[in-house]
Amino acid sequence: MTAEWEIVVGLEVHVELATDTKLFSAAPSRFGDDPNTNVTPVCLGLPGSLPVLNRRAVELAMAVGLALNCEIRPSVFHRKNYFYPDMPKDYQVSQYDQPICSDGWLDVPGGSRVGIERAHLEEDAGKTTHLGGADGRIHGAVGALVDYNRAGTPLLEIVSRPDIGSAAEASAYVEEMRAILLTLGASDARLEEGSMRVDANISVRPAGSGELRTRCEVKNLNSLRSLRSAIDYEARRHIELYQSGEAPVQETRHWSEDGRTHSLRSKEEADDYRYFPEPDLVPLVPDDEWIDQVRAAMPELPASQRARLNECGADPEDAQVIANRGLAPLVLDAVAAGADASRAVTHAVQNLALDGAELLEAAQLASLVQMEISGQLTATQAKTVLGHMCERAPGAGADPSAIAAELGYEAMDSGELEALVDQAIADNPDAWAKFCAGESKVAGVFVGAVMKATRGQADGKAVNQILALRRGT
């Protein structure tokens, strides 16, 4: 980036809330079913149908708001009116000038604080597939099919202030947001699958000027990589325009995988959504008691988990990996139960990128670490046992001692190990000579031989100790 310009980014993050049913109807909020099967008269906008607000969706929205340090305020649903076939009522019910959450912030790991302007509830639309056109796109299509299964799914739109100054910071903001959503169980927050969607409002300004210039909203950012690339591309485009004496036009642009943004359409007139308060719903006024209940039920947030992992000796990077995997409670509870912190952290970072890891019980991890520390299991064995534990979790089936016994892992008799080491020395006289001359790295030859003889079950640390004894150091 040219030194005299700085990037200004605000992000709108839309997340599908993890409710069983839709925002205003009892239809299942579920994907992958046959088209138009998860629908009720409300989802189809049938005449005479009326919306009823989903309590769980409100609670998830409040929890996210509290996690983002927002104020939870009385809110009102509005109708946003526009015609589109996948909008069953030809209006979207959405919170407009009175959102449920407002004025918060998110501390992005790495230092900066990004203001949260608001987070509001709204309903999703259905899905249109165009027939006959290339790749299901509208151009050249001969017809369209609409699936209303998604119509009415609860969305929370979280709008940041334009406080983000780089592509990397934007990416870190989204990652931290995702960690919070996952920790709260508010959403599965998958960018690639669309349960989390990010739109970026991008502009540039002369460094230090503090002004806000014309922004462009970039959509179709379905990975962190495309988010970063789009910000850098768009910022460069704006700078070039300014430098050539032109200026960007405020518009919506589409990120495409050719590495550029494209103007979606130049609208001859601005949209007029004719917002007005939704008369079929009453204002949503959460009382303190309800807010307190939601707050009390919230799990520990990732930032706090990471701080405690740091205290356990995990470096910031490891702490982030553990928190993002949702394994912080497991590790912290295992340590609290007496597990060696360093081994617990190492396992979580290196050996637990596995399905089922989040189902492990802290006591089971603690007991595995204890077996390892006491020499009952080698590091390699411990990793293997962990793999089996994840497959069998949750429950007693994931007990590490039972699994170790099943696998025939028993701590090797030290006399037996010494005999194997001596055999390895006898088989490799040249290497032994070098080792005795001080070339410590040839120790690998003996360790390897012993490992081969024991099919990997020997404790490498113990072998090294015996070698040192034999050399007399």
Partner: protein, 506 residues
Amino acid sequence: MNAARAIAADVRTGTRRATDVLEEFLGRIEAHDGDVHAFNAVTAERARATAAAIDAAVDEGRNPGPLAGVPVAFKDNLCTRGVATTCSSRMLEGWQPPYDATVVQTMTAAGAVMIGKTNLDEFAMGSSTEHSAFGPTRNPYDLARVPGGSSGGSAAAVAAGFAPLALGSDTGGSIRQPASLCGIVGIKPTYGRVSRFGLVAFASSFDQIGPFATDVADAALALGVISGHDPADSTSIPAAVPDFEAALERSVEGLRVGVVSELTGSGRNDAAVGGGALGDAAGEVLDGIDADVTERVFEAADALADAGATVGRVSVPAVTYGLTAYYLIALAEASSNLARYDGTRYGLRVEGADVEEMNRMTRRAGFGDEVKARIMLGTFALSAGYYDAYYGKAQRVRMLTRRDFDAAYADFDVLLSPTSPCVAFRFGERADPMTMYRCDTCTIPSNLSGDPAMSVPFGTGAEDLPVGVQVMAPALGEETMLAVAAALERAAPPLPKPQLVEGAAT
């Protein structure tokens, strides 16, 4: 005796068979609905099956409910499962809802027998039923005149003796005005008293379902059946349902009755009214209210004074802005509520080159002129740059109306006014939209405030046509309102019978 409660009592005791009752009413429909056109559809076969089931229940010693065997007509904007619900619009011609409106469920559960779906102004937009896509309904008192609207079909059906009870919807007077023009009783309950689930929306913040009946007691019976909290309607009030029929026995002695000055300015020498208690009208008086209609209101006040009520004048200044505020808000909501009729999912579709053209062609063909005009006005009222001046200001008038009514109810238990500014008018007589909209002058204030109001027949006006007096009460004040209406009913001069049907409406 064909009052609903008499039928229900007879059917429950086995004195009459529900099937026989039904055939009697079907016979009258067969003979006369060709002239009246109260019905969009008569559901005779389904009704026969329902009636037979009720008779079977009685035979087995079970109680089919408070409306056992009572034929009931539903306005054709109330969803009926598997039975076409058209809103008298080409747009929904033949559309069969997959569910019953909550009121249809509760009426059916109480033993009522759906006899048919009644005509209305398209999507309930009108005050004469002239705007039905399927042709107008005629007033049983004079077939050359309108029955009022928009629930003209329901009102005419009850007046003509096609059904002892009917349900309608009231957004700006659509139950009370046709009840007044057809010489029957019509109630708009407190907003939220009756579930709107299954009522095809016109203006959601005003729409309220209510009953038509030949007398106050039948109306109270039906109101009790359809009232109550419904979790399917978020604006439904979680309040207990009082015994409305018991309220009819209450004395009006000591009740404070206010005659609304703005709606009754013209008329006879005030000094003689209400035992001399009625002072001069203060404040602005709305014009266009016929003197003989106002005169009936004064007579009604006299009658209540005779029965021991205290009568006085009261000013409710905001009602003079009611019409304007109402049409801005109602049409704004309507423009949004009617957006869904786009040809995509149900109802009429006219194909086009693309989706936008299909939407446009469908709406052009499916909606009548009045509906199109209202959608355009409502769209305009919500448009960027106009919102504050129109919709926003109208909402402030709505708040003022509530405030003014609250002030009036601090001094009075109920308020009186005309229901309609005039008796039934001739077809085409109010073709100018503003003239038609003024039909709702007296009824709209209660829709703005959300308070209950009803029309009860009280004498006749021009051409010996029925006049209705409107009784208004504060929110959830239906019991007092009904007690006053019952007192007026007792004091009212007998109405002539409709020219149409011998023995109807008795």
